[in-house]
Symmetry: C5
Subunit: 358 residues, 5 copies
């Protein structure tokens, strides 16, 4: 059964009553270990380090090198503030990246671009879509990513960078940001495919084995599709704005890749819409299957009753105690009566055969 | 049970037949005490006062200071007119702020901006969303707010201003207006979360304990969501117009915060839409749960009838009074008859087992 | 019961086959008395007259004075033509004002503006929305209104003008046109509120006393809402075009009032949409209430059958006429049998208690 | 019963695999007689002729005269080609007018405007909307119309032209084209009114006499509405493009009439949408009426069973053959038993009265 | 029965985790034979060849000649790369044409236009729409097409070119690309017509012979329509972009044909939408047909029970063993009793006749 708790994974509770502009982490994951991974790369070199804390030793904006700082865990406000100061980030951005309930969005500032996006994973045990907020700060030669809890989603990128495959090492920071968005959107394909598989499974099973709980599972599929759409829909805007931004952060070469990403997000949204239409078809199928079952049950009741009620009436008649009932005296009265009953029963059965009920 | 009265909280009755331009308060709250609170503030100073009436002593437009006049209670027309004269407000604006049935909107005049917005509260006792109209008049160095009845919604702002936390004291009047809009929109999150909790509660309970009144409660949730959307939807326009206005009242620094508010209102609308889609899923679940229950009841009827109707028929046959019924004379006739009945019953039960009805 | 006749009040029958451009009145109200009321006004003076016919004595375009000609009854083609000639009105406009099946619209000509709008009244006896076409011709210093049948809708305006309250006397003809539109739209509020009251009444009664005819009444509410929307929807366009017109007929001062009217029409449309959504919820409630009632009925049948069918079977067994039935000989056989029946009945009742059917 | 064949009247089969640009008539009406009617007219003169074939004698573009060539029957490719050559028509246009499955559209060429539109007729016998394609080629001083099969739709126009009523004779060719479009759109009113009448008929009858076949008839109404919309919807575009074209073919005077036509097509579309919404209400009504009938039937069953099952049980008890059954010996035992049965029956009836089942 | 597997024919699995920019074929058809067909043509000459591999002998960009390279089978990466190098194709395009899960789209590069489109075939055995990706690369004097598996769809074009019918040989490469798109879209008509035929078949059969599996088949029709729409919808964009592109690849003469193609895709989309609306009507019909059948069954049960239950009760009464039952002693008691039963039965039947149940 689908676990039905928590429609909106992170409760939509921004800091009611808190002054706008104060830094507080509001997410649920306050006990994950904080980790900072610093990657400095260019075409020739690649250095990884994992410092315990963010100190001024970490140089973000270096000549001729690109830096990717990958932060996991958001509850250390001090750390976030230090990073914010180091690359001169607006307080609203810092606030947004701590408020893990953001709608995916893009804010373009003079010196950096701030992107919020949802990481989605299909949790097969509970049939729910788990989401997590990923914040990307993209400067002209650095990328900083903030995740709430540890994830191996970036591992594939790092491996590529280490092995110098793909184009990341040969390109500037904006391509790295694109590559990050690309792996995130790739995961959406995974989610929608899982949902698609479940819908296909329902198509097979609904007509043959309708079950009370299936309607709830269809409902939860629909809910997950709505949530998926809510996460993917704004990506179109994000990419459109990236495409049209007039900072020099996004290079022209990268926009071609962004358009590809745009096509992917459209494809995901369209597929989600098709699946949503199909779930309503599943409900129809379930309803029709249930009502078919009801018909079957009532048919059995009706056939049995129709056969035996008249027979029982005949038996009742000859069970009456009137003094003068000539049939009772007949020698073959009993057998004639049984024969009449048999003929009546056969006629009823024949009638139901004609009506195609049997 | 949800109290089902009053779909549109304040009846939509503008002054039918009254000349446009005459000042009449049409809301239901004519007996709340009128209160005026005057706050004068800048970075250095903060003064609060609560005069009994609005006299010419109250200076609204002072050099180097910002003034917030917080009026509660709208039925004193004279007071409203005096304030209107003091800051030169158009008669249509005065009319609008007394007509508490306004759709949220913004009117940009040369010297001030007029914003109408709905305060929403989820009334947990009646499961309804209570709304109240808040009018904000924003000039270059003053903010005037008009509320129908006393509320503590601004208390948090005043505390921040007293303690000089947050940015209000350091900023101009437009930031105060933004901060007011921000606390109002924060309350919407609260409302939508309450509705979300109720939907989750329904998901849990509908399949297991369907009840006649639940469909009415789902209906009232849907109604409240529609009302919420009606209140939030125009906020997008309001902020877009604030953003693009060409008066000098809104400073460039504040527009960044407005865009944040815009994102919040989009998020609320999207969540409301998801919830609305889900309520229709709840109706499906209720319907399916009811029809499942019907199936169960009819199954019991059918099984019992199917078992006993043939048996009763057999008993009826041997209750007949024919003279010549050889079985009746048999010594073990009775036991044979009972055995035959038992076998028939077992066969029926077996048949229902195969059909998976039992 | 709602009278279900006539979905579209005035049948949509423009003059099929008639040449475009010929003047024919096609409405149903050919026997109402024709009346012409002429009002000449400015800030200082106010004159009312009711001439029998339209003669050249009636001066429409006078220097320093505004004229309002209020015509009731459209079947005197000659009269319409005379008025048309007097103020130089295009033949298409004359045709449109006689064709009482117009969609609300605005046509802006060089010397006048032509507005068609629907007067709506909720007929509480038949639960239908009655509509009537109002044509307004607005010139630079005159307003001519054409109504199909007598109505007191303008009385309130005339009283205000007589008493010199409100702004009409102090303003130019475009303000009068606005004031006319304003009283018309005010009536829409009345209609939508009546529909809202009926929806609320249904919410109360549907669950408790579902009745076959209610579904038809909900259907007719939906139909009236669709019709209301059809009448109100084009008003947005009308006002937008008035706002942007480049004739000098609409003064800048009046546009502010028009925007207010625009807000009102949006509010009516939004409320109508909410009500439309709610009517589909009412259908759900009705359906669920009916199926609940069905469940109740079948439960009664099942419980009674389940209790008595086995008992009747037992009675049948001991009504058999086998020679050797030892129980029949027992002295307390009868009482034991009754006791067994009682216990069986109690067990069945207990079972239904556990199943929560009773 | 509605004849349910052929959703899309003319099968959508453009010439699969045929090279684009070859002239083939693909419609079903290959045996209608070909007819050519030539009308030459101006303000002073009017000449009609019906030549057997299209020869070079027929002058289309004459100084000071307008020509209308009205062709019926499309299967004579040679004829079409000759006309095409005579007025220099693009091969794509010729192809389009032979392919009778076109969506209504407009193509504006340098020397002529090509309009495709659907003639609709409501076939009352089969309750279907019959469509036929009308092609109009409008040059600066000629109009050529192509119809698949004979129709009297243009008769009214020709009569007007003969009698010199209306404006056609006084206007240029574009007004004639407008007048043709006008009679076509007038027929749409007829179709939608017929559909409206059927919907009203259903409203009356559905609740009282629900019948299995009605749902199919509602379905076919919906189908016809969808088809109507498909035919009318593109007319808005057509008129918009006519309005904005920069050829000199459409005179400014005519655009005013076109706008009127535009309003009519909007009104038809809106009414079709309302009717479509209402058909879904009809389905609700049918469903509710059916389930009401089911409730009634089951109520009868339940009431009868509830009354007689307990009585039959009592009769069964006193039909038992126990030796010692004291009641059987009582002198008034039988009458007491009957009385008890009567009281029980009255109590059951009373219970159903309270439950309002009877 | 419709085979219900695979909603989205090609699973939407782009290369999760693969670096963007690496060439891998991900489709299912890895064992089809690779074939290359090279056609060089102009007005005078036409040469076909089918080389085993792509060598530098194949000249794509020749003066005065157009070349069409028709590649079938995508799993030979080397081949694709060679072609890519020969005409200087961007790596993203190569990637896209190997990734057979693309949404239809157009990418306009400086020297070529890349179009992805879906070939659709209705598989009548499984009632599914089979799709295959067609990539078209259009340069100023060449067209390269890539198909996953062998198909005879282009045969008709090649025949026309061989026989020098149609306009392809007389036109430039862009007309060939148009002709290719045209045959693809022609196939969509075929698919939608097949779906339309199935819907018509359902209309005929649903009311008369409702069957459990039909709801599943309607569901699969809906799914195929959604898929069709997903394939056709983007074609509008593709053509719009082709129309507006500012490369010199598309000649002005061809845009006229493109607009025709645009009209066709609109017509397909509109028809698909109508069919989608109709499928929901089919579900209504099925549901109503099922519930009608239920009513019929229950009516039989009720009529039979209503007639025999009272009769059986009477028989039971006279089967009681009370000592003093005067009726039992009457000489004609038995016959009177039978007569009374007969009259009762006739009355019940009469009652049902009045109720129109029989």
């Amino acid at each position: 059964m689908a676990k039905s708790k928590k429609i909106i994974k992170h409760k939509n509770t921004p800091k009611v009553g808190k002054p706008p502009g104060s830094l507080i982490y509001l997410g649920p994951k306050k006990d994950v270990p904080i980790s900072i991974k610093v990657i400095e790369y260019n075409q020739e070199s690649f250095q990884e380090s994992a410092p315990d804390s963010f100190t001024s030793d970490i140089k973000i904006q270096q000549e001729g090198k690109f830096t990717w700082i990958d932060v996991t865990g958001l509850h250390d406000i001090k750390l976030i503030e230090n990073i914010g100061k180091a690359v001169n980030i607006h307080s609203l951005t810092l606030e947004d990246l701590l408020n893990v309930n953001q709608r995916p969005k893009i804010d373009i500032f003079h010196t950096y671009i701030y992107i919020v996006i949802q990481l989605l994973k299909f949790d097969e045990d509970h049939n729910t879509v788990e989401s997590e907020q990923l914040s990307i700060i993209l400067g002209s030669n650095y990328v900083i990513t903030f995740l709430e809890s540890p994830s191996d989603i970036f591992e594939v990128l790092k491996t590529r960078m280490r092995n110098h495959t793909g184009k990341i090492r040969n390109s500037s920071a904006d391509y790295l940001a694109y590559a990050i968005l690309d792996v995130v959107v790739d995961d959406y394909y995974d989610v929608i495919e899982k949902i698609g598989e479940r819908i296909e499974a329902f198509e097979e099973i609904l007509m043959l084995h309708p079950h009370k709980m299936q309607i709830q599972e269809i409902y939860s599929l629909k809910r997950e599709l709505l949530q998926l759409r809510k996460a993917v829909w704004p990506i179109r805007e994000i990419i459109t704005k990236l495409d049209k931004d007039d900072t020099d952060i996004i290079k022209e070469k990268t926009t071609l890749y962004l358009r590809d990403l745009y096509d992917h997000s459209i494809q995901i949204i369209e597929t989600a819409e098709i699946y949503r239409d199909l779930t309503s078809g599943l409900v129809d199928m379930y309803m029709s299957s249930t009502s078919h079952k009801l018909n079957e049950i009532i048919k059995v009741l009706t056939i049995l009753s129709s056969i035996f009620i008249p027979l029982t009436f005949i038996a009742g008649v000859y069970g009456m105690n009137f003094k003068y009932m000539p049939e009772l005296e007949w020698h073959y009265g009993y057998y004639l009566c049984l024969a009449a009953m048999g003929i009546l029963a056969i006629m009823m059965i024949f009638y139901f055969k004609i009506k195609k009920w049997i």
